[in-house]
Symmetry: C2
Subunit: 366 residues, 2 copies
């Protein structure tokens, strides 16, 4: 590889394998795959989904919705609590496409009912234990109030309920993911049954990559909306969502110093490339990335005993315990498997495939 | 303020006050201020320095050097170990401007000597205890070898020694900064004296914002190169480099949910806006930002008992202990004082001054 600065490499074959697997899972379980595009944010990668039948997509911001609407996508969920400062933008989007928004607050729902001049579909986020956004599954009073306000407002359509059980990210292994997922599914089914008894036919949508990647009971779920699965990352390997050779992106970084006496290597690759998400490994080490080497234009399995131990703005400090440290010299390229590929991709803004194709993202703030 | 999405606000008056103070410090101590532009990365802010006499600048990457060279800056230090994969770019820059690079490795120095077709000035990074890049101050053998290689190579000019004593970032209060700084200065002075005795008249350059902001003995130092001082941030307040009302940037974020029962607020403002740097406060809480409110178009002092406790890609979760939580509603704007303003600025790519002026940065990967 003829690179001189940090470059986000994309293994297209792995990426397509991840995509095909999730498309197959959705088909097998008769759920609609409405993938979250916040991970890749790239028109080209979006097209790979389109050729496999993806028609509905999920995004994380109004800006991202604008981008994909301008690229011809016609059914979009903004998977973020609706922002009542943005009625102008929401109306502009709702005028053009089938728009789904999250309505989790009674006052927000009332304001939205007044503010929308075009029809918008409403999903109520259900908090099944993650404790971030949405209404507690047990808070029937608020759920009923929201359903009522949405049902009464001329331009609000009740679509159903969404949950991102992000507490699966604390799981270690499929058994723990399954335990959290089963609890989430039971809570969602209760909510659905409650409103079905009142005559509301509602969807249930589920968002997290760990559950979508590993579970086999999607009863009553209409849509799955994972994002990270397209690339996966070190965090998803630790959770148990995937294997290390499913990770489809690696940051290529130039080695600029070696310090054999302290078993460390300095690379050009820091917080402005990787972001600062970390995992704590089984030895209690804080890890900002696993290290891979390049052979024949591909990356191999992670080097045992090597990991990014610290990052500053542009520097990465790699701990490298084994004797193979002696083989690494300034001017070499190493690969870093990111902890959180969504944030790394968002920072890098373009991909270089192993075949040499450049794939651009939407552009920040654009 | 009429904003609907996360926006990085710049208090220009505070920023100019920070700049003036550092310009005055440099003048008072007869050192050259060669500020690090990795923090703001903005041509407009660079000009504020130029009108105050700044002529030499520091950057953190070759890409950033290109940007400021194209904007007419003629004396630039790339404060990062020289990358021998980038001789083409280094020659292109060295042909146009007075270029300083870091040469910390014997093999790299030899390669650079062969690779440069235009003169380049070399600084050797001295590690005075930070343990990241450079040569240990005690490693006289390597320092001498580097000085020899640089002195012998036709296109390499020995400029002197640079240190970024980043271990001051672990300091809490000026006394601790001073202790680390005095040790660093003593080590640098020894290195300078050692090479002066051999007939080399060398510069000493110092990079860290905590020392540059607080110290008063710059004997033998020729240049100070702080960057963060232009904005400061929560981390610098914790270190003791500045006061909270010196912080010149705040991320304005819309409130999208309030959860009074758990004393939490959800805002649109996450890792793609703030980055993920955190501090641990005196109560052991991991904090991703302090919270301010806006009054009359300015932000106030941080709200007691309120801080960003968690961030995901687009969400910020704020803990808000006091009763004033009741006053906050969806649709309000709050401000977040960033933990690390360099990373927040790099993500946001533009500033909105409190007077309504938009200041753009260089553009990522540009």
């Amino acid at each position: 590889m003829n690179l001189f600065s940090p470059t986000l490499l994309l293994d297209k074959a792995r990426c397509l394998r991840n995509l095909d697997r999730m498309v197959d899972r959705a088909a097998r379980h008769s759920v609609t795959l409405a993938p979250h595009f916040k991970t890749h944010q790239a028109l080209e990668i979006a097209k790979w989904g389109k050729t496999r039948g993806v028609r509905e997509i999920t995004v994380s911001s109004i800006e991202m919705a604008y981008h994909f609407v301008s690229m011809g996508w016609e059914s979009i969920t903004i998977a973020f609590p609706v922002n009542i400062l943005a009625f102008f933008q929401l109306n502009e989007l709702a005028r053009k496409v089938s728009l789904n928004v999250f309505v989790n607050d009674v006052e927000v729902a009332k304001a939205l009912g007044k503010g929308m001049r075009y029809p918008v579909n409403c999903l109520i986020e259900v908090d099944t234990g993650y404790g971030r956004t949405g209404v507690l599954a047990s808070d029937t009073e608020t759920l009923e109030a929201l359903v009522q306000i949405i049902s009464d407002a001329p331009n609000l359509n009740l679509l159903g309920f969404y949950t991102h059980p992000g507490h699966t990210y604390a799981a270690r292994g499929v058994a723990e993911i399954s335990s959290i997922y089963r609890d989430t599914l039971a809570k969602l089914q209760q909510v659905k049954a409650h409103f079905a008894a009142k005559g509301h036919d509602v969807q249930l949508r589920l968002g997290d990559t760990p559950s979508c990647s590993t579970q086999d009971d999607f009863s009553d779920i209409s849509h799955i909306t994972p994002g990270n699965f397209i690339f996966y990352d070190v965090m998803q390997v630790q959770i148990g969502s995937c294997e290390v050779d499913d990770i489809a992106v690696a940051l290529a970084v130039p080695v600029v110093e070696t310090h054999p006496s302290r078993h460390e290597i300095i690379v050009h690759g820091g917080a402005v490339h990787l972001s600062k998400d970390a995992i704590i490994d089984e030895n209690g080490h804080r890890i900002f990335g696993w290290i891979v080497r390049f052979i024949d234009g591909k990356w191999g399995t992670p080097v045992a005993g090597a990991y990014v131990k610290a990052i500053s703005q542009e520097h990465g400090t790699i701990t490298w315990e084994g004797d193979s440290l002696q083989e690494v010299k300034p001017g070499d390229l190493l690969g870093i498997l990111p902890i959180h590929s969504c944030l790394t991709a968002d920072l890098m803004q373009e991909y270089l495939t192993l075949d040499g194709e450049v794939i651009r993202m939407r552009g920040r703030n654009g």
